[in-house]
Amino acid sequence: MNLVINEEQQMLKTSAKEFLKNRAPVEALRKLRDSNDPKGYNAQLWKEMAEMGWASLNIPEAYGGMDFGFVGFGQVLEEMGRTLVASPMVSTCLVGTSIINFGGNTMQKENYLPRIAEGSILVSLASEESNAHRPLKVSTQFSKTDDGYSISGKKIFVLDGNVADYFIVTTTDGDKNGITLFIVDAKSEGITVEKKIMMDSRNAAVVTFDNVKVSETGMIGEEGKGDKTLEKALDIARIGLSAEMLGSMQEAFDRTVAYLKERKQFGVVIGTFQALQHRAADMYCEIQLCKSLVIKALQAIDTNSPMLPYMASMTKSKVGETLQLVTNEGIQLFGGIGMTDDEEIGFFMKRARVAQQTFGDYNYHLDRFATLSGF
């Protein structure tokens, strides 16, 4: 499979770059942060992005989507990473859409996907319970009632949990037989949402479910069989997030290299110092590897490859480690200026740390890759 994006994908990428440059530069994230916006994202901007079709790139045409494929979707994510756009893209489109699309029945797809596509609802996965990413360790419990189910438990690090219209909740029965997925209206009685601001100025929430009633149609897939859908959606999200991180990494690197060419010390441009040149060259190489892993992984989603879990872990770990390196080197090479809030390079470092832990950090994925590979 050719590892160069095609003309159509390139057009999408170019238009995304242009749009984001104008509508959502890094400065926009700063404003959002400093305004203490209760939503934590720009709803108007999200509307515009949906109008451009970005919320529906991975939704089948039958449900009002563009079905553009993930290689194309990845280009938009990459550009979003370049300007650090705070949006519900990851929570709603990467995770939410994937679970409904791969795990839901026709009725559920008809109910939710068109509304996601047009940007009118946000759907967020509530799965984490321990402090680190352990998606398959679930103790939130569901039980049968007369007319449906009842859910109780506490979920943390629910991305965009404070603005979500629906939660997809991972649950288990009393005997812990596999995972069962439910989609729940966020306004249901018994749900408490506590907003948390993260270091990247985005939101996550602690969401508590206290005997929340769900109708029978709220179960996604079969009882106790949600693991597979969850893992597939997470693998897709890991790869999609890696594409976003790749964009951040490239932007942070470009800015650092530009700074090296401009900043003078001891009478010369610091970009002439060989030690810094070699560090920059080394980063260039690592970034090239990330680029290749990301496009291969995006293709693996599109071709429904059985290697998907491997690709997801390889990519997320390499990208996570490299983004950490590049953002650290960015601050160090910007020097004192890099330490100030006025300079934007720090925003990349902060986003890197949150993205790194979202859906598993590089430790998690190195370990998972080794386990998947049988060693």
């Binding site: 402090n131 680190a132 943390i156 993260m198 030690a275 650290n328």
Partner: protein, 397 residues
């Protein structure tokens, strides 16, 4: 060993012990937890508690805010051996320092070395008495590691200079009464030769201070703007265009202070934190990759600690530390950054939180702050240059 001296010292020790016991309030014998626990002085200073005030005043009156400085300047006039005894007894009893300021730690030593008698009388006395808060005006926006590349000008205007320019990273400039400052007095000669060291009164027109916000949040750092600020010529220290000598003296001082940062505060072993945060599985840390990284960190942490010890011992045996302080500065700050990366990794989702104030989201903010360790006080790159040139004697192009 002269037994008379030994006996005198023992007498001194007994006296001190009794005096401290009688005069140091109990609350001043508890461990220091935050910056405000030690009195800083200055015209705007307030005491944190009545005990703090009592303790400060008693020590000030003995001259023991600066025990080794001459009594003429408000010091204690103690010799080296006596000073050592005082410090040892205070440490034994857990007594806090009665005063801490840049005046005491930075300007004081420099004035003692380079100041004239009038300057010493005027400024050292006020420092020991905690009447003036000093800040340090070195760095400039364009200079960075190349400190000597400074642009702030002092123009000769008869009996005074007029100083104009901008300084950055001036810690606590917003509460400073005075500033010891490097300025360019001769722009015609090579950069190191046209610099002077002057004392600037911050309470005058033409001086403006603006706090700097860091990636970790608010900070003690400020930007300071001078516009034709007036500096009487008696405030020139060490002679015209001789400021770089004093700057170098103070920089060496600062470097060894910062290298020690990672040692301070953090008491709990990283492995213990890891166990609490990440948990064990079959007796091993649940995250196998992290486990190796923590093990490696602990070994390096012990290695740098013992290297400091060893080099101290070597210094006592006659091999001065010299450029080796660059090794400490470099290694300890890089290691401290690694430590906070590891802790953030252990901290999981909770550690990523970033509250309104510093306490909620302390870990993430602290981690951000450590990124500056390898920049301030001479970047890691500068330290590596120094090691290469001054320790390994590698040639310059």
């Amino acid at each position: 060993m002269d037994t008379t001296i030994q006996t005198d010292l023992e007498v001194f020790r007994i006296e001190i012990k009794a005096w401290l016991e009688a005069n140091c309030p109990k609350s001043m014998r508890t461990p220091v937890k935050k910056f405000e626990d030690i009195y800083g002085g200055g015209s705007e200073a307030t005491f944190d508690s009545e005990d703090q005030k009592i303790w400060f005043e008693r020590m000030r009156d003995k001259g023991w805010t600066a025990p080794a400085w001459p009594t003429a300047y408000g010091g204690g006039g103690l010799n080296k051996a006596e000073h050592k005894v005082l410090k040892a007894e205070m440490k034994k009893m857990g007594c806090r320092s009665p005063l801490w300021s840049f005046g005491l730690t930075m300007l004081g030593p420099a004035l003692l070395e380079f100041g004239n008698e009038a300057q010493k009388l005027e400024h050292l006395t006020k420092i020991t008495r905690g009447e003036v808060w000093w800040c340090q005006g070195y760095s400039e926006p364009g200079a960075g590691s190349d400190l000597a590349d400074l642009q702030t000008r002092a123009v000769d205007n008869g009996d005074h200079f007029l100083v104009s320019g901008q300084k950055v990273w001036t810690s606590y400039a917003d509460k400073a009464d005075w500033c010891f400052c490097l300025v360019r007095t001769n722009p015609e000669v090579p950069k190191h030769h046209g610099i002077s060291f002057v004392l600037i009164n911050m309470r005058q027109p033409g001086v403006e201070v603006r706090p700097i916000k860091l990636i970790s949040g608010s900070s003690p750092f400020c930007e300071t703007f001078f516009e034709e600020a007036k500096v009487p010529k008696e405030n020139l220290v060490g002679g015209l265009n001789n400021g770089w000598t004093i700057a170098k003296y103070l920089l060496t001082h600062e470097r060894s202070m910062i290298g020690g940062i990672s040692e301070a505060g953090q008491q709990k072993l990283l492995s213990q934190i890891a166990i609490e945060m990440v948990g064990l599985e079959n007796g091993k840390l649940a995250d196998p990759v992290l486990r190796t990284e923590v093990a490696r960190w602990l070994i390096n942490g012990a290695g740098i600690k013992w290297s400091m010890e060893r080099m101290m011992d070597e210094a006592k045996a006659g091999d001065p530390i010299g450029a080796k302080s660059s090794f400490f500065k470099y290694y300890a700050t890089e290691l401290n950054k690694d430590k906070f990366e590891l802790m953030l990794s252990m901290g999981g989702f909770e550690g990523l939180q970033w509250g309104e104030d510093y306490l909620e989201g302390k870990l993430a903010r602290d981690m951000c702050r450590t990124k500056g360790n390898s920049i301030e006080g001479g970047t890691s790159e500068v330290q590596l240059n120094i090691i290469a040139k001054r320790i390994l004697n590698l040639p310059t192009r």
